[in-house]
């Protein structure tokens, strides 16, 4: 026997608690249980259905609104506002972001303007926009566009600043001029940041469209929720909330797909 003795210590894996354990069934089961409890609480009149309608009742209400097409009218109104404002903001945001990111004079002019206007909650600008553009669609689209524009322009600006200068040098040494560098190096280089900006932006657009429709509209999901609340139609209100949840999930999925499609070199 060695003079060190016979004691043996087994080395333990100290990182065991960091390992990610997956509980695929738990997620589903807990979701179902919560729905069941909710159903039970509502049916048992522990909370009056007027305040908390049962999931089944909401589902039925939603089905009815689908059949009459009432829900489509509101969803389409909201979606068209989102889409219009979102697309405008993306185009302008990317253009302005590149401009202030790549050229020093626009940067000097634009940066303080953005820093000063960015902190204003966009919904606070809606009354001013209504004054300027009227109570109709343009003011609502404009407030969404404003809300999406800022995260977009800031993301694009950061993206331009973070394009590896060595890639610009490589392009220059391969014969690109300034404009071709913007098209062939900056644009693809900022694509991941553009998509990240879009993801941020669509969340903000969803928020703003509901807020704007609650202020001044006669269609849209926001309008539907507000009028349902006024008439104590809690089921209808809940259908509105669930629709918003679905929209959010859908946009998330959509942008994930777009990312895979437009940024194949990252996957």
């Amino acid at each position: 026997m060695s003079p060190l003795g016979t004691e043996r210590t087994v080395v333990q894996d100290k990182t065991y608690f960091l390992q990610v354990k997956e509980h695929p069934w738990l997620s589903l089961i807990s979701f179902i249980i919560i729905l069941l409890v909710w159903e039970f609480v509502s049916r048992g009149q522990w909370i009056p259905p007027l305040f908390l309608p049962a999931p089944s009742a909401i589902l039925l209400e939603g089905w009815g609104m689908l059949k009459t097409g009432l829900i489509f009218k509101h969803v389409l109104a909201s979606l068209s506002r989102i889409l219009l404002g979102f697309i405008m903001a993306c185009i302008v945001g990317v253009a302005v972001g590149i401009l202030i990111g790549f050229f020093s004079i626009p940067e000097a002019v634009g940066n303080p303007l953005i820093a000063a206007t960015f902190p204003i909650p966009k919904i606070a600008i809606l009354p001013l926009l209504i004054l300027w553009l009227g109570i109709g669609e343009p003011s609502k689209v404009a407030v969404i566009a404003l809300g999406v524009f800022f995260p977009m322009v800031i993301n694009v600006y950061t993206g331009v600043k973070n394009v590896d200068p060595i890639l610009i040098k490589a392009a220059l040494s391969l014969g690109s001029n300034r404009w071709r560098i913007i098209r062939k190096v900056i644009l693809p280089g900022i694509l991941p940041m553009v998509l990240a900006g879009m993801k941020l932006g669509i969340g903000i657009a969803l928020l703003l469209v509901v807020a704007a429709e609650m202020v001044a509209a006669d269609t849209g999901i926001g309008f539907m929720i507000l009028t349902a609340a006024d008439l104590m139609e809690t089921k209808k209100l809940m259908v509105g909330l669930i629709t918003l949840s679905f929209l959010g999930i859908f946009f998330n999925w959509l942008f994930q797909k777009l990312e895979h499609f437009f940024i194949p070199w990252k996957h």
Binding site: D164, I166, L167, K169, A170, A171, L172, S173, L174, G175, S176, R180, K184, V185, P188, G189, L191, I263, P264, W265
Partner: protein
């Protein structure tokens, strides 16, 4: 064709007005078909010099002049950067044709030229991979093919193999030697690796520490083609020793300064 590096100096001025002299009166020429290696300790301004020759940085004084004329092309140089500088959103093939797109060649010509250099650097079968799917050695092959494809008057390489492991590095040295023999262009190669300099160069420009100036220009009279057995030859080892003696004191000073 001849590239004249005519009394180049470079001084950086920082925001506080502090001045750093990086290059001091660097003066030499790269002849047609010549393989020139610049060797020197880290921080001697080698990369600054390369950037100035490539037109990616302005000198404080002096100028770089390309002498001569060719019928079919404007004088242009190409650079292989230390960290590859591949466009991550472009596949191997798309990276290699980048310079050809900028020369406004038609698609079929671009592909013909790209195929030639893909074969030369041994990238067949990798055409549609993205850079992040390649090893360091493979990435540097892409960068070399991309630079060569533009048919430059002078190909410059800035420590191209310093990020590679030792074995890959040696293999790539053989490759570069072979590629130079095949293309017969002027090469300017920057390294801090003395053996590499002797193995590759027709002439070795030995530079001092900051401010970088030329200590010595040593013609390497070793026969070509140079292959791996060269590294055991006595003349090769003598050249290595000669250059080491030039830079030894410089390297020691640099080490002490950091300590």
């Amino acid at each position: 064709m001849r590239v004249l590096i005519d009394h180049i100096s470079k001084t950086y001025t920082d925001r506080k007005g502090g001045r750093t002299e990086t290059l001091q009166d660097v003066n030499f020429a790269i002849e047609e078909n010549e393989f020139v290696v610049v060797v020197g300790p880290s921080g001697c301004g080698k990369t600054t010099l390369l950037n100035i020759i490539a037109g990616l940085l302005g000198p404080s004084s002096g100028q770089v002049i390309i002498e001569g004329r060719r019928l079919n092309s404007k004088p242009h140089t190409a650079v292989v950067f230390q960290d590859y500088a591949l466009f991550p959103w472009r596949t191997v093939l798309q990276n290699i044709v980048y310079g050809l797109e900028e020369q406004r060649l038609i698609k079929s010509q671009q592909l013909d030229i790209a195929q030639k250099y893909i074969a030369m650097v041994g990238l067949q079968g990798f055409e549609n991979k993205y850079p992040h799917q390649l090893s360091g050695g493979m990435k540097q092959r892409v960068a070399i093919a991309r630079a060569l494809a533009t048919d430059p008057w002078l190909l410059m390489m800035d420590e191209p193999f310093s990020a590679l492991d030792a074995q890959t590095r040696i293999l790539m040295q053989y490759e570069i030697s072979r590629i130079w023999e095949e293309t017969h262009k002027s090469f300017l190669y920057i390294t801090h690796h003395i053996q590499e300099a002797v193995f590759l160069g027709d002439r070795v420009v030995v530079m001092s520490r900051r401010p970088g100036k030329i200590l010595e220009i040593i013609p390497i009279g070793l026969p070509r083609p140079r292959r791996e057995n060269l590294v055991n030859d006595k003349p090769y080892l003598e050249y290595v020793d000669l250059i080491w003696n030039h830079v030894k004191d410089q390297a020691k000073e640099a080490l002490e300064e950091k300590a």
